[in-house]
Symmetry: C2
Subunit: 334 residues, 2 copies
DNA sequence: ATTAGCACTCAAGTGTACCGAGTGCTAACG
DNA sequence: CGTTAGCACTCGGTACACTTGAGTGCTAAT
């Protein structure tokens, strides 16, 4: 553990570097920190911090910049749990008061909100579907050989699956299958479906089977369906080479990877992953701040912010905390 | 109009610049073009081309690069309507044979495909909803004061709208409203809906009205709902400053702008918009290649590719043409 | 009309010198 | 003994001069 003064110096370096993106030298620290000591003393201490792996040196005659470990210490031991600026607080409140309807739109807009608050990219992962129960199921014929299964879930999500039909299934058979499905599936959780019993008619049974299979099998692809990434362009500004931007963008485009990342971080009991801690090569220069949100007391989903390792952690933590909380409350009530 | 030789030289410059991204000089053109003339002659001609606005000069001792006008001429008069590479042809065929079900998933995947073919960003705009007819409508109660209206359209799209209810509308009233809506709206086009007649019960009528209002009013936001942008990270590689990338990204994130852009270009009867022709400031360094696709003979939607002005037009045109055609055919059949 | 020849331009690369920010070390200080 | 002033040292950045070479535009010869 670091002694009092080393910690203060580290904090000063981190805060300064976050603000300016330039290596910070002993003089700057002496000025910025509350410590009434000379730059020389600061230098000695910084040498120690470097030996212990909290700081680095781009080159001999430059100031210090934090390492991942340095950021980690900063976040764990002294992130001031910043508050949002009053204007931002108001923006969040406004946003959630102007309650929009559909869940998916809501999550999408939330990712925009969060990105706007932080000026980084924001990710919002919707509630998993397995837990939700089915409120209604309908099978609708579309074309001669294809029908669409539409299920409305208790959380407001609408799941749809195309169902391939054998040749010339009549409208009435589809209707029969539809009501049979509705009768047996309504009320059960998507994660634990049991196949409806046979109805006697072999054609209808086939339709029911196909439709049911679509619903049950689709589960694994669920996660992919409701991830919303907002403001990717904002985080571009935080990097200085096109290559870095491309790597990060490419990663953000893989929804599955993003979802996994957030879940991983949460599973490890963290709320921040810094640089290599993300476990993803292309995100080596990035940090992620995550928070779960709860609906009706149950863990429902995750939100997160992705920015450069030198992101404004206090601000990002505050934004994520506030938004996750309000989002959860909003979804619980509405 | 350009004489034979000038055209050949312009073509050589454009093709070379597209390939190398470096200003091309008279010697290179003399080597690359079929013309059996000396660099000096080429120089004279290039000076003419520059005077006429087809080429520019980054600086005195550099080669020439095409202007927007130069690209325009190239595209209009001699884009070789390139063919896809055999491997890519096969990839497209494979893609459309492995027909996935739901329309939206399909469009999303198509944007990925197109982006993969061209290595630029791809945009796919789905069919407008107004033309589609309603195949089925259901109103599903979600929470005490909120229900969800779900409409399945003939093109396979599922529209959903949250409907706010007055206090304590009973399940049976919702059911009544649902079947009343189904009875009167099924079969009509989303663009020309007429309000269902009163049913006698004032509460139920209220629910019906609210639901109907949601459907009818939502039209304008339709376009936003089904634009799919794929491979934005790919086009990052084509630019050399982070700023450029950010501008383009930010534009691509505004779905409405993207849709409008594609429609505008098509409305002007173009299939390519180059640089300033896009009409969008942040896309000054970009070109867009678009094509409509038809479902059952009717114009249904648009696809497009967005890349740098020095994009590989023949390739992009070929890719867009093939994909739009196969997409249309696929949607018509399936 | 074409082209060889040539003077000219200018970006990019190279070497040198210098500045200055910042360090690490040492010796003095309280 | 911790702190600090002083100082030599390091090294990236900038400025400048110089060279190189790609490429042009013009002119005069073919």
């Amino acid at each position: 553990m670091l002694d009092e003064r080393k910690a203060a110096i580290l904090r000063a370096v981190v805060e300064e570097y976050i603000a300016t993106a330039e290596p910070v030298g002993s003089a700057t620290v002496a000025r910025a920190s509350e410590l009434a000591v000379s730059p020389a003393t600061i230098r000695n201490e910084m040498a120690g911090l470097e030996r212990d792996g909290y700081l680095t040196h781009p080159h001999t005659s430059a100031g210090r910049i934090p390492t991942d470990k340095g950021y980690r210490f900063f976040v764990d031991n002294m992130a001031p749990t910043g508050n949002l600026q009053p204007g931002q607080r108001a923006a969040v409140r406004d946003f959630f008061n102007r309650a929009h309807g559909a869940l998916e739109q809501m999550l999408h807009d939330t990712s925009q909100l969060l990105s706007g608050l932080t000026d980084y990219a924001a990710v919002v992962v919707g509630p998993p579907h397995e837990a939700a129960t089915i409120r209604s199921v309908h099978l609708v014929g579309l074309a001669p050989k294809v029908a669409l299964l539409v299920a409305v879930l208790s959380n407001g999500v609408v799941e749809k699956r195309a169902v391939e039909l054998a040749d010339d299934v009549t409208e009435t058979r589809i209707a029969a299958a539809s009501s049979h499905l509705a009768q047996h599936l309504t009320g059960s959780a998507l994660g634990s479906l049991v196949a409806p019993p046979s109805i006697g008619d072999v054609v209808t049974d086939g339709v029911v089977g196909a439709a049911f299979g679509g619903l049950a099998s689709g589960d694994h692809s669920d996660e992919t369906d409701h991830v919303f990434v907002g403001g990717a362009s904002r985080m571009a500004a935080a990097f200085d080479t096109v290559e870095s931007v491309r790597h990060v963008l490419a990663t953000l485009e893989q929804q599955f990877v993003v979802v996994t990342l957030l879940r991983d971080v949460l599973d490890r009991g963290l709320s921040v992953a810094i640089g290599a801690e993300t476990g993803l090569e292309p995100l080596a220069e990035c940090s992620v701040v995550v928070a779960p949100y709860e609906v009706e007391g149950e863990l429902a989903g995750t939100i997160g912010v992705l920015g450069p390792t030198r992101m404004n952690y206090p601000q990002a933590l505050a934004a994520v905390a506030v938004v996750s909380q309000r989002l959860g409350r909003h979804l619980t009530e509405g």
